[in-house]
Every structure is written in C-alpha cells, then in structure tokens.
C-alpha cells in the first residue's frame, strides 16, 4: 500500500536519524564542550532546514506527503513504516524549531555539557519518531525512547528535589505506556486471528472487527497512555514537579513537545482504531478537559514558583485542546491542533524567558522578583508579549486556536463552550499575577543587569515573530491541517 509519492531519497529517515548522528558525535568528542555545543546547534539547524524544505515542497500536496516503508522484524511482522501528513509535518516543524531554541538557551551549560547536548538530541529523535511512525511497535519504541533522556535531563541537571520529580515523571508515563503495550499486542493478536496476516501497520489494524467490550478495553488501554502524557485532569501532578526541576532546555522540550505527543497519539492511533468506543468516551473526555481547565487555572493562581504557574497553564491549555477534540467537528479539531502548535511556541518562549530571568535575578520565586522592566526593558517586553499570548489576547497565537476550539465546542454543546470561555478569565488572573510580580513594582537586588545578549535576541525574535504571525495570519497552518483533519474525522485516517 505504498502511495504514489515513492521518495527516492529517504528524507524521513534522514530527519529521524540526523539528531542521533549528532548525539554520537557529541559523545565521541565529549572532552571539548565548545565543539559539542556547535555540533548540536548545527544538527538541530540542519533538521530545521530539512523540515522547512519538506514543508515548502509539500504545499498543496495531499495524502501522505512523505512515506517510507521497510521490513524490520519479520517473525513478528513489525515493519519500519514512516509517514508524514499535514499534522505530523507541522509538529515536526515545531519540534525542530523548539530544539534549536533549547540548544541556544542552554548555550552556557557548564555541568557536563557534552552529555547534556547528547541527551537533548536523542530526545529530538524520539519526538520526531513519535510524530512520523505508522507502525504501532515503532511508535511504541519512540514513545519510550523519549522517556530516558528526559529522565536523565531532569534527574541530573535539575534543581533541589530533582530525583523525586524525575522518578515521578518516569513512573507516570511508563505506567500508562505499559498498558498501551498490552493493548497493542492484544489488538495485533485479534487482527492476526481474524485475517491471518500478523502485522502492526496502523491501517491494517484498523480493519479488525472488535466486539464492543473488547473495543472499549483496548481503547482504555490506549487512552491511558495518552491521557497521562497530555496531562488530563487526574493524571497531571507529574507535570509541575517535572517542570520546576527540569533545566531550561528540558522545560522547553517538556512543555513544547512532550505534551503534544499525547494528543497526537490520540488523533493518530486511539480514535481511528476504536471509533465506536471513542464516540462513547467523548462526553467523559470533555468533562475531564473542562475540570482540568478550571482546576489547573485555580491552582496556577496560588503558585509561588514561576515555572509551576506556566506548568499549570499548560495543563489548562491542553484542557482546551482535548475539549476541541471531544467536540468532534472539523472546526474544533482544526482549532485544537492550531492551539496545540501555538501553545508549543508560546510556552516554549515563556520557559526560555524564565530561564533568562533566572540567570539574571537568581530566583524563580514570584515574591523575590519585581521591577524587571526598569532594569531589562527589552527582556521584559518580550516576556510581556509571551504572557499576553498565553492569556489569549486576540491577535496573538493562542487566541486563534482558542477561539476556533470555543466556536467548535459551542456548536457541539453550548454548555461546554460556554463554561470553557470562563476559563479565559481565570487564565488572565494568574498570568497577570505573574506579570505583576515580575515586571512591575520596585526592582530588587539582581545578580546581573545586562539586557538581552545577541544569542538571546536570536532565540526570542523568531519566536516572538511566530507568535504574532500565527495570531494574525494562521491561514497557512490551517491549510496544512484541513485535509488530514477531515480524513481523520470521517474515515479515521489516511488510506
């Protein structure tokens, strides 16, 4: 079933294994940290350029933009299948962009730099792999591959109780994904039993005929892994701890990308494989999302650590995304995917800013900060811009996604849409509290008071430009999303 676009040069594999090459180089040359720094930056930049090239070349394309398929493990029928459509293209672009920001923000990493850059690059392979793979076991392999580097990033380069946060992060995600493994194997056996050919290909497994009972159990098995990763309401407590303890690059990856893999997993695997069970579970998902939006927004209001506020704000924003998915119409889905990408950029920017503020003021505690505007006007301006985008000011990134989600959700069920809109007020409450205690008021004693360095400008200007551009003119992104989303909604994914 390889569609027409048989790419001569395996671009997807290049995209996938380039970061791993960078990792090996970093590990080999680990004694000269400067060299490693440049290698990792070069790798992430090349990945970004390749991704941009692929995006430009596939404007207006339809079906699988890029597709690769090769045998991997015959005895079990596992194949090395990679496929990229509109959604995964955008998410890969987001990954590439945020990885460059992550490397740049940890440019002056003094504690074991080579190992740090190597782990960040392995993370990139894992994330891109999740967004591209179409074979369930390959997907699962990359799903878990993301776990180890993040565990070490938090555990080794974290702050005070980093070990607790790292173990908690590892356990929450692993618990979910082990049930995913069982569900995958059981589905594979059912499919094999019915059709005789044992394979893990996504479109093959979509043909299995399941009794409602089996379908619901398998659906729960799949969703458990994704709900923990998204973090939906009851399973979100790992995120704030992981964020507070993670180093800047780790936080950017965690907030910007890892949360998206959960949502991507839902729309690519869980919903298409078990459409009936998905329909039955939508109200439940919507309720959890709504509770998540309010619950996280309320907690964010009383947090003292800046990173925890942003972490809880991510839980609230992802609540919006899930609400959009639960509304199950084209408008809401395009809105939630757009919001997912915009949230990645905004929150990535926010965490980069927090890292810069921490470098300069030595603390993330809201109580000890203040009056940054007088000392760093440029830095504070950017921080204000990202905060405004995060609280959903129209004309900036998050609003575009949020309004589409709200419109779609309101069309699906006025009660949901109406209540979700209230979430916007609470998000303003906690974001403005952060801005208030950080930027305004009298400025306190500061470690450094030089405003933005050139490197920092390099990170912030593209992100800020994107935040404004995606808010004012999101049409190109929506264009990429249109066809895959409509396919996912009706037939449950590509042929």
């Amino acid at each position: 079933m390889t569609p027409d676009v048989a790419t001569p040069f395996p671009l997807l594999s290049l995209l996938l294994w380039l970061p791993l090459g960078g990792t090996l180089l970093c590990l080999l040359l680990r004694h000269s940290s400067n060299l490693c720094r440049w290698i990792s930056l070069l790798t992430t930049l090349t990945v970004l350029v390749v991704a941009l090239g692929m995006a430009v070349s596939s404007i207006g394309g339809s079906g699988w933009l890029f597709y690769e398929d090769a045998a991997w493990i015959e005895p079990f029928g596992i194949r090395y299948t990679l496929g990229m459509d509109g959604i995964s293209l955008l998410l890969v672009l987001l990954t590439a962009l945020l990885q460059v920001a992550a490397i740049l923000i940890s440019w002056r990493q003094k504690q074991r730099p080579a190992l740090f850059y190597a782990l960040v690059l392995v993370m990139e392979t894992g994330i891109i792999g999740v967004f591209l793979s179409l074979d369930l076991i390959l997907f699962y392999l990359f799903w878990e591959l993301m776990l180890i580097p993040m565990f070490f990033l938090i555990g080794v380069w974290g702050h005070e109780n980093r070990v607790y946060a790292a173990v908690k992060f590892f356990f929450f995600t692993l618990a979910g994904s082990l049930f995913l493994l069982l569900a995958i194997i059981w589905l594979y056996l059912l499919h094999g039993g019915q059709t005789g050919d044992y394979s893990f290909a996504l479109d093959a497994l979509r043909q299995t005929v399941l009794t409602p009972g089996q379908e619901m159990i398998l659906y729960i098995g799949f969703m458990l892994a994704f709900i923990v990763k998204v973090p939906l309401f009851p399973f979100h407590t790992w995120l704030p701890d992981a964020h507070t303890e993670a180093p800047p690059a780790g936080s950017v990856d965690l907030a910007g990308l890892l949360l998206k893999t959960g949502v991507y997993g839902m729309i690519r695997f869980a919903f298409p494989l078990f459409p009936a069970a998905a329909q039955k579970s939508l109200p439940f998902l919507a309720i959890l999302a709504l509770v998540g939006i309010f619950y996280a927004a309320w907690i964010a209001y009383v947090q003292t650590d800046m990173k925890r506020v942003i972490a809880y704000s991510s839980v609230a924003h992802l609540g919006f995304v899930i609400l959009g998915l639960a509304a199950w119409n084209q408008l809401a889905w395009e809105g939630s995917l757009l919001l997912m990408i915009n949230h990645g950029i905004t929150t990535g920017g926010l965490f980069v800013m927090i890292a810069m503020i921490q470098d300069r003021s030595g603390t993330r505690e809201l109580g000890k900060l203040g009056g940054l505007w007088t000392v760093f006007p440029n830095l504070s301006a950017f921080f204000l811009l990202f905060c405004l985008s995060s609280l959903g000011l129209p004309g900036l990134a998050n609003f575009a996604g949020e309004i589409l989600v709200l419109l779609g959700a309101f069309k699906a069920d006025p009660l949901w849409g109406g209540m979700a809109v209230a979430g916007v007020v609470f998000s303003a409450a906690y974001m403005l509290r952060v801005v208030q205690s950080a930027l305004w008021g009298e400025s306190k004693k500061l470690a450094r008071n030089d405003d933005l360095a050139v490197r920092e400008w390099l990170i912030l200007v593209p992100l800020a430009a994107l935040v404004v551009l995606l808010g004012v003119y999101p049409a190109p992104v929506l264009e990429f999303l249109r066809e895959p989303v409509s396919l996912l909604l009706e037939t449950g994914g590509m042929p």
Partner: protein, 619 residues
C-alpha cells in the same frame, strides 16, 4: 476615493505604535511624540476626507481573511456606515487633541516611547472596534483596548498600586469580555456567521428567549467596558494613570465602546423588550449611583471619573428607551466636554503643584484666569445649563424616556431628572472648591505649557456648539444627526409638555447650582461626615467584591492545590508506593539467613504443589 484607503485610518496609528515600540527608546523625545501625533492626526484627516463613503448603507471592504476554517469565516474587514463614520471622526478628533496635550504633559517623563506607543496602539484598537465589519475583528479591538488601558493605567509602574489598578481594570473588563464572547459564540452557532450586517439582517429569525439572552450577554459585555453596574469598580482606580490617559480612555473612547456595541447591534437588542428594560434600568441606576458617589469625592480626577460613569449611564438609558441618535448625540457632546474637563484638571494639578485633593486647592481663578474660563465652559456643559451641548443631549434623552410613558420608564425618567440635579450640584461644588476661596495648596505650582493650553479652546467650542447638531424641533432644529444615522425621528410630544419638562430641568439645574453656591462659595473646611466616607468609597463596592468574590476564590484555589493535588492525587500515588515498600520489606525479611528456615520453604513449596494436585485430582 478608493475604499481601500479606509484601511489607512486604523493602520496609521498601528504603524506609529509599532515604530515607537521597536525604535522608540532610541529616538529623541520630540520625534517620538511628533510621530504619534502625526499618525493620529493623519487618520483624523482621512476620516474627514472619506466622510461621504459612510453615507447611506456605507461601504464594506476586506483586506485579507484572518481565520477561515470549515464554515467559519472571519476576515479583517471594514464596515464604514454612518454610525461608524460619526464615531471614527469623534475618536480620531479627540485623540489628536489629546495626543497634542500629552506631548506637552509628558514632556519631562523619562520613557515617552512606551507611553506614546501604547497611546497609538490604543487608538488603533479603538478604531478596530469602531470600523470592524464582523464581531471577531471587533472582539480583537475590544480586548486590544483592554490591554492598552492596562498598560497605560499602570504606566507609572514603579508604584505597584498603579500596576495593580491596571490589572484590576484588565481583569474586570475581561469578565465583561467573557459575556461578549459567549454572545459571539451563540450568534455563530445560531447564524453560522459573525458578519454584523448579516446578523442584523436575519435577527428576526431568532426566538424571543434566545434574543433576550443575547441582549443580556451583550449588555454584560458593554457593562464591563463602559464601567456600568455591576462591573464599575475599576474606573475610579483607573485614575492612577497619567491625565491624558484618563482623558482619552475614560472620557472619549474606551468607556463609550460599550454604548457603541449596543448601538451597532441595536436591531438585535431592540427586538427584546426585557433586554431593553434591563439596559435602561442598568443605565439609570448607574447614573444615580455614580452621581451620588461624585458628591463626596476628594480627588479632582475621581470626581470626573464618577461623573463619566453617570453620563454613560444616561447613554445606556437612551439606548434602553430606544433612541440610538439620542445616545450617540449625548456620547458626542459628553466626549468633548469631558475631555475638556479632564485636560483642564491636568492643568489644575500642574497649577496646584501636583496636588490632587480639591480640599487642599482653591483660589486658582486669580492664578490662571484662562484655565478658569475654559474649565467653567466644561462645567456648564456637564451641569446641563440651557443652550449648551450637554443640556440639549441630556434633555433629548429625558424627553424620550418621558415619552416612553408607562410606570417603569416613568420612574427611570424621575431618576434621570434627579441625577441631573445632583450632576449640577457636584459640578459647581468642584468649580467653587478649586477656583474660588483662599489658596490652600501647599506647593508652588507652575503654569501649564502652552501646548496643553491651546488644545482646550477647540474642545470648549465643540462642547458648546454640538447642541446645534441635533436641535429638537421645539427650538427649530431639524435633527441632522438622526437624519445622518438614518434613525426614526423622535415622535412629537405636545408642545406644552415639552416646555414643562424643559422648565422642570431648568429648576433642577438652578437648584443644584444654588445649593452648591451656598455650601461651597466660602470654603467649609474638611468635611469627614460618616455618610460621606460611605459615598467616597463607592458604596463600599470594593470591600463587598473582596468579601464575596476574591476571598472565596483564593480559598478555593488554595484548597485545590493543597487538598486536590497534594493530598488527594499525590497522596494516593505515594501511598501505593509506600504500601509496596512495606510488603517488600516483609517479604525481604523472609530470607533471614537461616538454612533451616530455607529448607522449611522447600517443605511449604512441596505442600503447596502436592496439595494442589490432590485437590485437582479429587475434583
């Protein structure tokens, strides 16, 4: 003229703002203020030039499609119809004068770039509200205005009280925006479009209950932005911002956005009687509430702030009784004389050496007769002295309210007349305390810069003469504004009742003046009576909100965090882990090093297996 030029009106201030944001701090002070004034005056000129485009049905032009996805279409488009033309002209006109005034007022401020950038962005956002052809673009302007007011109110952010005043304004208006957003969503799900024209055209299809709901939501949105009951507590605190900001935001533009929204969606609003009654009620009550608070205010700008709130109440009352032209007429006159008063207040503060409290001012008449005469004109219009703009517009509203007739509207008319009396009382109280009596201010003030002074006369002239714009028939006028807006002519009351009403208004005006004259002509000394402090704090509104809203909110948040996250979810997880460890310890102690015990393990194993087989085979 090419309709695309219309887009230049909002784009010029945007362009000015963006340049100031990016390069402002590097440019000299003169260039920064000059650029921003040029931008706004440019769009004012364009508004006057393109005036004919707005006549009749108006012109609709689209720049590009902002959000297009599966049936939802919201694009950056302009609807330049009579209503929008009037508002654009007023906004850009007043804004130009205020920018000039600000150039003088903020001469010695240390970060002019940020101020003028925000001012320009504010005008851009206001123009988006006025010119938007669909509700989502209007919503963009709506929240943009909210943010710019947040930035401007909290401009002197070093004193964190100003910053929190800005935050309070942003959040309270955001609550209003919430209702407006829900109305927007509802309209989209009902009509499948957010274009204002299409909605107004097909508004008859909706059932009455939905109509009332939508009207109430729009009223909620308007209350937030125009500081009406119950979302009014942010306006007095917003005086923390510099005076040009108060003049621009709290006189001419932002607070009128709510009224403009109701006028824009009037076809929808007018179809639900309960909605109209609610709007009228909110307007009247706020008018009364604000007027009563203004009586006891000590700071000059807070008096003007409450007076703005009360006058906006009149405009809501006008919309509530069904006359859009009446509301717009009062909106225009109010914009002119209130901007004049605020700017005059700025000069007064300069004269009094930065003193805000009117009880510690006085005798400024001799100090600067010019400021006195201009301030007097503003006070006369505000108090509604006959033949001034304020008199005609307020009187038109009260006439229509009286004409509405039945018991409910009659009471609202009564409240309106009573508030008119109170208005004249507090206006003259302000005048006497500031300009007459002995000079009580401590510091040595300095004369306001010429730039500030020369922007006042035009506003004074406009305040007096706008009455001609919509003269009622009694005075031989032929209501140009109503004609221009295409609204139905106000039906004729018998001449006798009209004259009677005018006479009644006159009595209340003179009464207010006389009482103020008696009370405040000679300085009565610091009054600190009990009921005054109640009024001073706006009927304790802030304490009430703190008690019933903010304190429970913080309690819930803390409970969610400690109770929900920490105790419940983490507690369960860590409990499980500890349980496993406990059992693990128990099993670990099984291998206690004694070989004999290990052999007993064997025996138990044997028993288990043989026993199981016996059980299996017996079954």
């Amino acid at each position: 003229m090419n309709p695309l030029l219309l887009f230049l009106i909002p784009i010029l201030p945007l362009f000015g703002g963006v340049i100031n944001v990016c390069f402002g701090s590097r440019l000299p002070h003169r260039l920064v203020s000059g650029l921003s004034v040029a931008a706004v005056s440019g769009s004012f000129l364009l508004a006057t030039l393109l005036w004919p485009l707005g006549s009749g049905e108006g012109t609709r032009v689209v720049l590009f499609s902002w959000l297009k996805s599966a049936g939802f279409q919201a694009d950056v488009g302009i609807l330049f119809d009579p209503l929008a033309a009037v508002m654009t002209l007023m906004v850009t006109g007043v804004a130009t004068l205020i920018h000039l005034y600000a150039a003088g007022y903020m001469a010695e401020d240390e970060s002019p770039a940020r101020f003028f950038a925000l001012l320009n962005l504010f005008v851009f956002a206001m123009l988006c509200i006025v010119l938007a052809d669909n509700l989502l673009f209007l919503f963009l302007g709506w929240e943009g205005v909210g943010f710019c007011s947040y930035g401007l109110i909290g401009f002197w952010y070093r004193n964190s009280k100003n910053a929190s005043a800005g935050r309070k304004a942003f959040i309270v208006t955001r609550i209003g925006d919430l209702f407006f957003a829900i109305a927007l969503l509802w309209l989209f799900s009902a009509f499948g479009t957010v274009m204002i024209e299409q909605i107004n055209a097909r508004v008859a299809e909706l059932d009455p209950l939905l109509l009332t709901g939508l009207t109430l939501l729009l009223l909620g949105g308007a209350c937030g932005k125009s500081a009406q009951l119950p979302l009014m507590s942010w306006l007095p605190d917003a005086m923390a911002g510099p005076t040009p900001v108060s003049a621009l935001i709290h006189a001419a533009t932002m607070v009128t956005a709510g009224v403009y929204l109701l006028c824009r969606m009037f076809p929808l609003v007018s179809l639900s009687p309960t909605g109209m009654a609610a709007i009228a009620l909110v307007g009247a009550l706020t008018a009364l509430y604000a007027a009563s608070c203004a009586l006891a205010q000590r700071e000059i700008k807070r008096v003007l702030a409450y007076s703005t709130m009360s006058q906006i109440g009149y405009m809501f009352l006008a919309v509530g009784v069904g006359t859009v032209s009446g509301a717009m007429f009062h909106l225009l006159t109010h914009a002119f004389f209130k901007a004049l008063l605020f700017m005059g207040a700025g000069c007064v503060i300069h004269l009094a050496g930065g003193e805000n409290d009117i009880y510690r001012m006085g005798g400024l008449k001799e100090k600067s007769p010019q400021v006195f005469w201009l301030f007097l004109v503003g006070i006369l219009c505000l108090a509604g002295t006959p033949l001034t703009g304020g008199f005609f517009s307020k009187d038109a509203i009260l006439l229509t309210a009286f004409a509405a007739g039945d018991g409910f509207y009659a009471t609202l008319w009564g409240i309106g007349v009573l508030t008119a009396g109170l208005t004249s009382f507090y206006s003259f109280r302000l005048l006497y305390l500031v300009f007459f009596g002995t000079a009580r201010q401590a510091g040595q003030g300095h004369a306001p810069s010429p730039l500030m002074l020369w922007t006042l006369p035009p506003l004074a002239l406009l305040g007096l003469c706008t009455g001609l714009l919509n003269l009622p028939h009694l005075f031989g006028g032929h209501e140009w504004l109503t004609l221009w807006l295409g609204q139905p002519m106000a039906e004729m009351l018998p001449v006798g009742t009209e004259i009677g009403l005018l006479f009644l208004m006159l009595i209340f005006f003179v009464g207010g003046w006389v009482i103020a004259h008696v009370r405040y002509r000679t300085f009565p000394g610091d009054e600190q009576a009990g009921w005054r402090s109640f009024l001073l704090s706006g009927w304790q509104a802030d304490r009430v909100y703190e008690l019933i809203l903010l304190r429970p909110y913080r309690a819930i948040c803390r409970f969610c965090w400690q109770g929900g996250d920490k105790a419940l979810i983490d507690g369960v997880m860590e409990g499980l882990a500890r349980l496993c460890l406990h059992w693990g310890d128990y099993v670990r102690r099984l291998s206690n090093g004694q070989v004999a015990f290990y052999l007993q393990g064997f025996a138990w194993g044997l028993l288990l297996i043989v026993g199981w087989f016996l059980l299996a085979s017996v079954k």
